[in-house]
Symmetry: C2
């Protein structure tokens, strides 16, 4: 009888642990569907990441290098259970463009004739380039609500300023922007909040030591309290080249060594980054180079980051 | 014995006929490998066509909407027996851009970091947009030899003027340009010659009757003698929308009806266009619309054109 009691108690304990574990698993805050993950030359797989609160279909799209080809792949993979047309028109509520280099916005321009009315967010300097170089009537019809006449008014430009948190239209999320140094351009990091959880997406960026900048330092200072409080669910950050790339040909990008340097700055500020989800984006082909980047990150990860390599069309949760 | 003689003679005749037929088949002048064939939204399959004299690997690329994804497909299909990297760097000797809309040049920009030194040909107005909107250091690094400093000098801009035939660098081909009307833009037709054979590639174009233009009429007058003399091996021309598209939303494009009207002008000038190879380009998704375009062209082809639908990565010969 006492044995039976013990067995019963053990089973109950197992059940409670399993429930707790299940709850921990269920407690993801964000769902992310990568539409494109590479840092170059493959037009069918360039930077674009859909992000929404778990359980919602009101996504934003962080950068928009490839849309259609990525959405098609996601639908094939059953990451979405609706049509590609509906994902483009209904699920994506707005675009967040980190900088105006074509591999981060080509998909938006190409898909614009089939898109629905929505907002394009970015720094003023980024939106200025979109307005004067892409939606111009020379490069493309002007689907926006500012710039060369006539205005087709499908897209509204919304310039974001560092220091303010702004509500994202037609979603329950908020966003803050931080400037990044990307060679001659100012690139952007978007800190997205859903309730009390955050996800941080960085566009192309160099390291402070190479760019002679404090942008990364300032960003890590801002997010360190969130890391400490376990509220930052993931950092999405680029590693474009392997360590062998000479500093003078980095063109405002990171290597595994430079990423780890930056992460150690964050670790000092936050106490620890052990187990932090770091989604590595913008790996530049060829395949041999991508393989090398992954090997170098794995071989030198003393902080214990949880390194994640996103795949086109495959959903992730954080 | 006389019977055996007759049989022998018959066999000889058959053999000679077969040889002649084989020679006719071998007598193609151009090899064309489509890298992208659609008129929209699929970033992995936008207008780009490699063309070379049969037997040569010195290709030019007519428009450059998609390069990498198309080359990869062509290599998979064994349309090329070398690597994708070699096709981009070694086989493509120059780009011919019909107009600067992004779906005709995005692949060139995205692939430029991995490309080799070569020339970009086009009308002065087209090259001006490439210079001021794409290779600018805001949209992309300036890989060209003109425009915003510093100049990386990988590409040389060569402006072409209507009325002159110009040799194409690093090939045995020549080219003449003709202006086309594409709504607010001037688009281009490239008439490419290899020895005594020609192929005509038209960028996006509206019909003279809609565009209030004589550009198509002038082009047909110029090529009619080549059709008459059986020297024009193929016309590559767009049909973007089915006949149901209202005139006011054609945006400088053709429908099956408008294509056939234009072909009847050419037929009058040339005597006949029966059996002329017409490669139909730039069909705009969705699939239902593309299916309709093909059905409408098939149902209304009184001139007896040989209508050809190019497929991405599958070589054709003319």
């Amino acid at each position: 009888m006492r044995l039976l009691h013990k067995v019963f108690l053990s089973l109950l304990l197992c059940f409670l642990c399993a429930s707790l574990f299940a709850q921990v698993k269920i407690a993801s805050s964000f769902r992310m569907v990568p539409l494109g993950v590479l840092g170059g030359i493959d037009e069918s797989n360039l930077s674009a990441y859909m992000v929404a609160p778990v359980g919602s279909n009101n996504y934003i799209c962080m950068d928009a290098g490839t849309l259609h080809a990525g959405i098609e792949k996601a639908v094939t993979n059953k990451a979405f259970t609706t049509s590609a047309e509906q994902v483009l028109k209904k699920y994506i509520k707005g675009y967040f463009i980190t900088h105006a280099h074509l591999d981060h916005i080509s998909g938006l321009i190409i898909n614009s004739p089939d898109d629905s009315i929505k907002t394009i967010y970015g720094l003023k300097s980024t939106l200025e380039t979109v307005k004067t170089h892409y939606f111009t009537w020379e490069s493309w019809a002007n689907f926006a609500d500012d710039g060369g006449a006539p205005l087709l008014k499908k897209y509204h430009y919304k310039a974001l300023e560092p220091g303010n948190e702004v509500a994202i239209d037609n979603t329950t999320m908020q966003v803050q922007v931080f400037p990044l140094s990307h060679s001659n351009l100012t690139s952007t990091a978007f800190l997205v909040r859903s309730n009390d959880s955050y996800i941080l997406y960085l566009g192309d960026t160099g390291a402070d030591e190479i760019e002679k900048s404090h942008n990364m330092q300032n960003l890590w200072q801002a997010v360190a309290p969130l890391v400490k409080a376990n509220k930052l669910k993931a950092i999405m950050i680029e590693v474009s080249f392997p360590n062998e790339q000479p500093d003078k040909t980095l063109f405002g990008h990171l290597t595994p060594r430079l990423l780890m340097n930056e992460m150690s700055v964050l670790a000092k500020l936050a106490g620890s980054v052990k187990g932090l989800n770091v989604v590595v984006t913008h790996l530049k082909p060829p395949v041999a180079s991508i393989t090398k980047i992954k090997a170098q990150l794995k071989a030198n990860n003393p902080l214990g980051l949880n390194l994640i390599y996103p795949q086109q069309g495959k959903a992730l949760e954080f």
